[in-house]
């Protein structure tokens, strides 16, 4: 009640005025009854009433609780002070806006990606299950969670009861062809077991999810994602029950998923039943690892006990199938961790960088406020002499920094919504299943930041101006030639911290940038210029024999080679630097059998046409390339990479020897050649690779072909010609990912470049802030010491001497800060060492560069005030009050 009246002050005031009017009327009427004339009666009534304004003011004050009243006054004072120096206020608000904006953006993403639960039913009880190999060499970073073989999953699900249920899903890709003449397109799909959606608690927006009877090899049901439903089917609900053609085969649309469902990422456009279209035998293999398993814990059962059952089953399977690559254990991972595995580290680094920038911003504003506090020193002293309590004075100054931070924070939060959208777009690996948007937690965070910033920026200066004894403050006069030593010391300390943090940021940015440059210039092992790449996959329905597949591929290669301006054409399963593409274990004939799974030779599996290596410029080191004779089912030839030769045939000539690959029709392959190494991703270490002839012909479920066309000039200008040649052979065949090789490499470097650029951006901003701070402090010092400098000059100090004096005064905190920063960065950079390649935390070039840059900027920032000091007119300086 009593607080509410504050908000009813206006109403109350209006009421009062009405009451007073009514009083006047009554009194006038009374007076007239006593026989006064109308005018006199009114006059007397007014006299009796007294001051209306006073009554209104009394009521107004009475309706204003004391705390709110002081707050309003503080705000009014602070506003006046801030508006008196609009330049300072604008800069301070801008600095805080940038810092809080950046921090809020990063937090939005961190929260969305790492903290917010997925939009599923009771997500806390969901867990991902992976196979886990015990051998240490299988546990290098990123490989300790092995995707699951379907046969393992079916055993886990049927033979354990610790989990309420388990579901399995896999990635896939189909050609979606039009029903009414729409263009064909390649789409990414998910294959999910029939219980996946019920397990997640996701209800279809339209229709239903899969039934158990549809989850079969010949299952022909499909669920649309909301995005393709809107985009390609115009949001028409009558699509339910109709069929669409995937790889030429009709699938009945049974349901549409809600727009909120973008698991595992937004590129998945359709869902088919898990088993749909998989070869029968693949489901019975315990060593075909390609699936992801989600399990829901039974209430009251701990993860450890549920897991021990599954692990026990897995260990039995391991023993049963040894030495096949069947893992010993099962490893759990939370769904959030699973989705954010690739971005966790860079996000943490960026969050750290943004935190540093925010700290610098706050320190800078604190520094500026300290400088201003100096000019108000006497005012503060006089007020405290008149009895103002210290708390009041501090509160007043805090209000000022709070106003700056609120203005900056609000601007910054507004900026951050735009920045977040951009960042979420630019960051390709960012998981989007949770949806990235600002929620109440983020706003709360921004709110917290504003107050923290206000406290940091305001408390230091406020404490420093108010704590002194009144007499001392009043005595401290420029006339005496000595300035407040403690405040100068405070500003220098703030500056030193600022510079130290800047140095840490600069060095981190330098390391990330150098590592990015290193990746950028990494030798992929093949040519990368003037290379057009694209993909297509021949649908099994239409290309059902190896002969048909071969005929298409050979015809296409022939047509493309005939295009003027084409230097060479390569066809294979995957191109260099364009991805992993799967690996297989093999055995070497006439070599002793490996003792355990971990010792099994393992290599990336690729296919290549006879012209692949020549067109891509991959050198032949031994033996020969494939020829057109290496076709057909019986051509069991293989070409290996140099790394494979070195690793598994040390000191031998591998050409002419044979390897046995179980995954490739369980047959032997004769090594015909050794070629140079290529990288499968520019930011990953190379791995042994084996190439099988593409023209061997395969009619497996996944029949993806990657095509590279080496052209004489700008490769993108050939893209239409190449697509026309494909359409001429099969107008229903869509192509995917038409990119230049440079774009492919750029894409895989995108994230390295993004984090390097962002950290560099933060570092440069911090450098600017720090140099402005340095300049400000020195300028202030110079003004404080004007009289002293005048005396020095009068006593015969040379201008050079004064220049040196001020310059060293400013450079000292810079040097201190540099030293502390370098030491701190040695510790900090160890934290993100795994993000670096080609550099180490102690990098002389980066260290040298940063030191030089910082010193140069510091000298520049100091030079102006120092030069001004040395050009003072001594008479003027001595008279300065």
């Amino acid at each position: 009640m009593s607080w509410l009246r504050f908000f009813r002050r206006r109403q109350s005031d209006a009421d009062l005025q009405n009451e007073i009017a009514s009083f006047l009327e009554e009194e006038t009427a009374d007076n007239m009854a006593r026989g006064m004339s109308r005018e006199d009666a009114h006059r007397q009534a007014r006299i009796k009433l007294g001051s209306v304004q006073k009554a209104r003011e009394t009521l107004w004050t009475q309706n204003t609780p004391p705390a709110l009243g002081t707050l309003a006054r503080d705000i009014r004072y602070s506003m006046r002070t801030l508006l008196r120096t609009p330049g300072f206020s604008l800069i301070a608000v801008l600095v805080i806006a940038l810092c809080i904006g950046a921090a809020t953006s990063l937090f939005t993403i961190v929260r969305s990606v790492m903290l917010r639960p997925l939009p599923f039913n009771d997500p806390g009880r969901l867990v991902m299950l992976y196979e886990h190999f015990r051998a240490p060499q299988m546990n290098t970073d990123g490989f300790n969670y092995n995707v699951v073989a379907p046969a393992d999953f079916y055993d886990w699900r049927s033979k354990t009861n610790g989990f309420q249920d388990m579901a399995i899903w896999r990635y896939g890709q189909y050609n979606l062809t039009g029903e009414r003449g729409e263009l064909p397109e390649v789409i990414h799909v998910g294959g999910g077991s029939w219980n996946l959606f019920p397990l997640l608690g996701v209800k279809p927006a339209l229709g239903r999810s899969f039934t158990e009877s549809e989850d079969q090899i010949d299952g022909a049901a499909v669920m649309l994602s909301w995005s393709i439903f809107e985009r390609r089917f115009a949001g028409d609900a009558s699509i339910i029950g109709r069929s669409i053609h995937l790889d030429g085969k009709p699938y009945t649309v049974v349901g549409v998923l809600p727009a909120s469902f973008t698991y595992p990422d937004a590129t998945i456009q359709l869902w088919v039943p898990y088993k749909a279209g998989l070869p029968e035998d693949i489901l019975h293999h315990h060593d075909f690892h390609f699936s992801h398993v989600i399990a829901r814990l039974r209430p009251g059962v701990s993860l450890a006990s549920a897991l021990s059952q599954v692990s026990a089953i897995q260990y039995r399977l391991h023993q049963q199938y040894s030495p096949a690559p069947v893992a010993e254990d099962v490893a759990p991972r939370s769904m959030n961790d699973d989705l954010s595995k690739g971005v966790k580290k860079p996000l943490t680094v960026l969050l750290g960088a943004v935190g540093c920038m925010l700290l610098i911003g706050c320190l800078n504003v604190a520094n500026l406020l300290v400088a201003r506090g100096a000019s108000r020193q006497k005012e503060v002293a006089i007020r405290s002499a008149l009895g103002a309590p210290r708390a009041t004075l501090i509160r007043e100054q805090l209000t000022e920094s709070l106003l700056i931070c609120i203005a900056g924070g609000v601007t910054g939060t507004a900026l951050s919504t735009a920045a977040t959208r951009w960042l979420a777009h630019a960051w390709k690996d960012l998981p989007t299943a949770q949806g990235i948007h600002v929620d109440s937690m983020v706003l709360l965070f921004a709110f917290g930041l504003i107050f923290a910033a206000a406290l940091i920026a305001g408390l230091l200066p406020a404490l420093s101006t108010t704590g002194k004894s009144v007499i001392k403050s009043l005595l401290t006069s420029t006339r005496t030639g000595s300035s407040s030593v403690s405040r100068t010391a405070l500003r220098k300390t703030l500056l030193t911290i600022e510079i130290a943090v800047t140095v840490v940021l600069l060095i981190s940015a330098g390391l990330l940038l150098k590592s990015f440059m290193h990746l950028r210039s990494a030798d992929v092992g093949s040519i990368t210029d003037n290379l057009l790449t694209l993909g297509y996959s021949l649908p099994q329905q239409k290309y059902d024999t190896p002969a048909k597949v071969n005929a298409f591929n050979e015809a296409l290669l022939e047509r493309l080679r005939a295009v003027p301006g084409v230097r060479g054409v390569a066809l294979g399963s995957t191109l260099p630097a364009a991805g992993y593409g799967g690996d297989d274990m093999f055995l070497i004939k006439n070599h002793p059998l490996p003792k355990s799974v971990a010792d099994m030779p393992d290599a990336i599996t690729r296919t290549a046409d006879p012209g692949y290596f020549t067109a891509l410029g991959i050198p032949l080191l031994r033996g020969r390339f494939f020829t057109n004779d290496d076709t057909g089912d019986l051509s069991h030839k293989v070409i290996i990479s140099q790394q494979l030769a070195k690793q598994y045939f040390p000191g031998e000539n591998p050409v002419g020897q044979s390897i046995h690959v179980e995954a490739m029709h369980d047959s032997d392959f004769e090594i015909v050649g050794v070629v140079g190494d290529t990288l499968w991703r520019v930011d990953e270490a190379g791995k042994p690779t084996m190439y099988f002839p593409v023209l061997m012909g395969s009619v497996g479920a996944i029949n993806f072909q990657a095509l590279a066309v080496h052209t004489e000039s700008n490769p993108l200008s050939y893209s239409v010609t190449v697509q026309k040649q494909i359409a001429a052979l099969d107008p229903e065949l869509p192509v995917s990912d038409v990119l230049t090789m440079d774009q492919v490499i750029g894409e895989s470097l995108g994230n390295a470049s993004l984090s390097a650029t962002l950290v560099l951006g933060f570092a440069i901003l911090s450098l600017i802030l720090a140099s402005v701070g340095l300049y400000g402090v020195l300028q202030y010092l110079m003004t404080q010491r004007t009289t002293e400098l005048g005396i020095r000059m009068a006593l015969g100090a040379s201008r050079d001497h004064l220049l040196q004096l001020i310059l060293f005064d400013g450079l000292r905190p810079a040097l201190f800060g540099l030293g502390i920063g370098v030491a701190a960065s040695l510790l900090v950079s160890r934290l993100f060492q795994s993000m670096l390649s080609g550099t180490r935390p102690v990098d002389p070039i980066v260290l040298g560069g940063v030191t030089a840059t910082l010193l140069a900027v510091a000298v520049l920032a100091c030079l102006v005030p120092a030069w001004r000091a040395s050009h003072l007119d001594p008479m003027q300086a001595l008279r300065t009050e």
């Binding site: 009593s2 009421d15 009062l16 009451e19 009514s22 009554e26 009427a29 009394t58 009521l59 309706n63």
Partner: protein
């Protein structure tokens, strides 16, 4: 003519009590309240409008009186005040305190200022 205000200045804190007392006999608007106080004090106390209305609002805020807009005796629009149950209790408390106070002051004054001065 404005009466002499020197003696008429109200003892601080008694205005609220007198307003509440006035309202015991029935609902009244500001003008009536002021008139009643002045009449019953035989025109010794003059109610300053500048403090009457804020006081009424304060009493209302504390829940001792409630208010409503109605028509005055002369059929003019006026804001009427009514004593609430809480207001009655408050009036009792204040009356009691006032009696104690006046009695105490009376005792002090009965002893005479001269004797106190001699101590």
């Amino acid at each position: 003519m404005k009466p002499q205000a020197t003696d008429a200045e109200m003892l601080k804190g008694t205005l609220d009590m007198m307003i509440l007392r006035t309202l015991v006999s029935g609902d009244a608007h500001g003008h009536t309240i002021a008139k009643i106080i002045e009449r019953s004090s035989e025109d010794v106390l003059e109610v300053e409008q500048g403090s009457l209305y804020p006081a009424l609002h304060r009493l209302e805020d504390r829940g001792w009186v409630s208010s409503f807009w109605g028509a005055s005796e002369n059929n003019r629009k006026a804001k009427f005040y009514r004593l609430t149950a809480a207001g009655k209790k408050q009036l009792l408390r204040e009356t009691q305190r006032w009696r104690q106070m006046t009695r105490a002051i009376g005792l002090v004054m009965g002893e005479g200022p001269a004797e106190r001065g001699a101590q």
